[in-house]
């Protein structure tokens, strides 16, 4: 289907363009499914990222754990979530970052928590 047909507000679908754009970033994150790669990431994050040929922009987004930016650069959440296993980040905080909201506001307004 055309990308134009799938334009739903505030909803980046992982389409052809995003998949192509984010391939290296996602491949780096996918490989964190192996313990030896997690160790390498922890030991020297930028050296690990360089193995995958990430751009400075991509590396900065990973270094900052900027979830919104990683998705903008083509990262798919299911892959980049593996970064959150390195220095544990709750899913609700990642969600709040995507939404550009304060965590408490996100819990209340989006998830209906009190």
């Amino acid at each position: 289907m055309s990308d134009a047909a799938m334009q739903i507000p505030e909803t980046p679908l992982f389409d052809r363009a995003r998949s192509i754009k984010g391939y290296k970033l996602n491949k780096m994150a996918m490989d964190l499914g192996r313990p030896e790669n997690r160790e390498a990431f922890k030991a020297d994050e930028n050296a690990y990222l360089d193995r995958y040929g990430l751009s400075d922009e991509e590396k900065a987004a990973v270094n900052a754990r900027d979830w919104h930016e990683m998705v903008r650069l083509g990262g798919n959440l299911f892959f980049i979530l593996k970064i959150s296993a390195i220095d544990p980040t709750p899913m609700t905080r990642i969600g709040a970052a995507q939404a550009g909201m304060d965590h408490d506001d996100f819990l209340k307004q989006r998830l209906g928590k009190h």
Partner: protein
């Protein structure tokens, strides 16, 4: 021949598995969610299936973007949990119903489906969590499994109509499988959730409740919906619900809704289940 004894629709949220691993299932946040599954678990215990067919999606754990099968079927003797970044979860290995898997693959191809056939492959929470919700944490799983993967990650994902058609072939495969195995079909994923973009945290309780009511005997509208409709109503990741259609299509046109449960949010997701039996 083998017999379909029921159809399950259920969420497979990873944090459910984490809650079980950490023993959080009795905490105020989680107890209402898990309590709602007790009737489903009891139904399963009494139904005594031999085989569970589990339709789920991988979440960037087993398949990378180097190769993305729209549909894949496991034909392995056994399946172990995959490392999702935290180390593989300590749950028992799943035994494969390899004969039924191969038979299903034969039927699929005869009916012009082209599945990826997987002889050696690991499974992520998409399969693990539904098994734990309905079978608990046994030392050995009481059923063998047939895993079916549906791509819901990279577009184009399959259409709801194609999922429905695969369910029809699944039924035919089970009912032409020699022996007297009792088979339960588990369609998994959803309900509404969105994990990416500024609409992250989107939950549509009204649409979820309507889905749980309608999937039994008012399913035509869901069958006819486009992928865009699913994303709009249930969120980008909530479109996983198309996998329940595989299960529903494998059941009779008229079914009995035996159990139903809804709870939101489980993590960022509207969560719940239905248990369906073919109407007598």
């Amino acid at each position: 021949m083998a017999k379909i004894i029921g159809g399950i629709g259920t969420s497979h949220v990873p944090s459910i598995g984490v809650a079980l691993d950490k023993g959080l299932d009795g905490t105020p946040d989680w107890k209402p969610f898990f309590d709602g599954y007790i009737p489903g678990k009891e139904w399963m215990r009494e139904a005594k299936p031999d085989i569970a067919v589990v339709i789920f999606n991988d979440h960037g754990n087993t398949f990378f973007l180097d190769r993305v099968p729209t549909f894949a079927v496991g034909v392995a003797e056994s399946y172990t949990p995959v490392d999702e970044g935290w180390g593989a979860r300590q749950i028992p290995t799943f035994e494969g119903a390899a004969e039924l898997s191969w038979h299903f693959v034969d039927r699929l191809v005869e009916k012009h489906f082209d599945p990826l056939v997987c002889r050696e492959i690991e499974v992520d929470h998409g399969l693990q969590v539904p098994m734990e919700l309905f079978f608990g944490r046994p030392e050995h799983w009481p059923v063998k499994i047939v895993p079916i993967w549906v791509n819901t990650i990279q577009y184009p994902i399959p259409t709801p109509q194609r999922c429905w058609e695969m369910g029809k072939v699944l039924r035919e495969a089970i009912e032409s499988f020699p022996g007297d195995d009792r088979v339960v079909i588990m369609g998994t994923g959803g309900l509404s959730h969105q994990l990416q973009g500024s609409r992250a945290g989107f939950i549509n309780r009204e649409a979820d409740e309507a889905w749980l009511d309608g999937i039994a005997n008012d399913y035509e509208k869901y069958r006819g919906m486009s992928r865009e409709d699913y994303v709009e109503q249930f969120g980008s990741e909530g479109a996983e619900l198309i996998m329940w259609l595989v299960m529903r299509a494998a059941m009779d046109p008229k079914v009995e809704l035996k159990h139903r449960h809804y709870y939101a949010p489980a993590s960022l997701t509207g969560a719940g289940m239905v248990v369906l039996e073919n109407a007598a």
